[in-house]
Symmetry: C2
Subunit: 187 residues, 2 copies
């Protein structure tokens, strides 16, 4: 951020009075520009014993596999966001969505809120952001070609729960630290 | 938003190519300025059979009671945000935080992520944003002087769970609709 979005003046980075963190502050109109994490809402969709994956047609991670997920928009709820992304990315309709996992990615200021649900009628086809979609048995999941660690972690939690016959709500962190090493915390 | 935060030009509101929603777009540098919901992280803290509340020293809802809660910052996790807010607002330390509720407020583009935990040593005192703090038995909660419907809803869910001896994870929406009427959805 270089300019104030309210008045167009050049912003400065400083700790506002009464605050503890540096913010972009406008010296002309005094607006404080807070920057906060974004929510990514997604959905693991099952049909019979298979799970829906989409192959990304966009960067980052073009050509790799993911579950339908994307940035939550203003004026919607988290489950509405997950249902919308399922439609946009895979033309998939969601039956009976349940909250499944909350995963923090503090190094990129994202919080994933992942749902699980049924894939209505088993029908899906690629949306504009997908090259192809597919239904995968657990043993056929392309683990080495998943787009993001958070997708890997969500699918592992899903299949682990499913094997017990009992789904629960999960919380964890995925942190990319020194030398791009991934640390996974499960609470 | 009136000006591009990257180049200072006047932005225009339009649907970018390949998108479905209007965004502030810069005609000079082509930056698309997405606006997304913010996370508010909070914590219901218990000591013996009492719950910690803070009386707000800031607007909105100056003078009314709330639980420690505030906007999640970049580079932290949701539970870290709830612990930080508990300290900032009530000088309260948190024992054994558990995810308790996710409540969408789509009319104001907020998602509350509420934890529950123990109040370490039963100690709390007002932070800069609180006039006073107090420990309240369920029957003494100032229900008519709570700052926000989401605080009311969270405390009702908490006491309801506590009465059964079994806490679970809750999801819901609080929507302020026509004539400021509050609609609560519990999933």
């Amino acid at each position: 951020m270089k300019y104030c979005s309210e008045c167009g003046s050049t912003v400065i980075l400083r700790v506002p009075d009464g605050d503890t963190l540096a913010r972009y502050v406008c010296p002309a109109c005094n607006t404080i520009h807070y920057q906060n994490p974004k929510i990514v809402a997604g959905c693991i969709l099952q049909w019979e014993d298979k799970v829906l994956l989409c192959r990304r047609a966009i960067e980052p991670r073009y050509g790799l596999w993911t579950v339908p997920a994307g940035f939550m928009e203003n004026h919607e709820t988290t489950v509405q966001a997950a249902i919308r992304e399922s439609w946009e990315e895979a033309k998939a309709e969601v039956n009976d969505a349940h909250l499944f996992a909350l995963i923090n990615l503090p190094h990129i200021n994202q919080v994933y809120i992942m749902f699980r649900g049924g894939l209505k009628c088993g029908q899906a086809s690629p949306g504009a952001e997908s090259l192809e979609v597919g239904l995968f048995l657990e043993q056929d999941i392309p683990w080495n070609k998943l787009a993001f660690p958070v997708v890997d972690e969500s699918l592992r939690l899903y299949f682990s729960d499913r094997s017990t016959g009992q789904f629960s709500m999960h919380m964890g962190d995925i942190i990319r630290g020194h030398e791009r090493k991934i640390q996974i915390n499960r609470y």
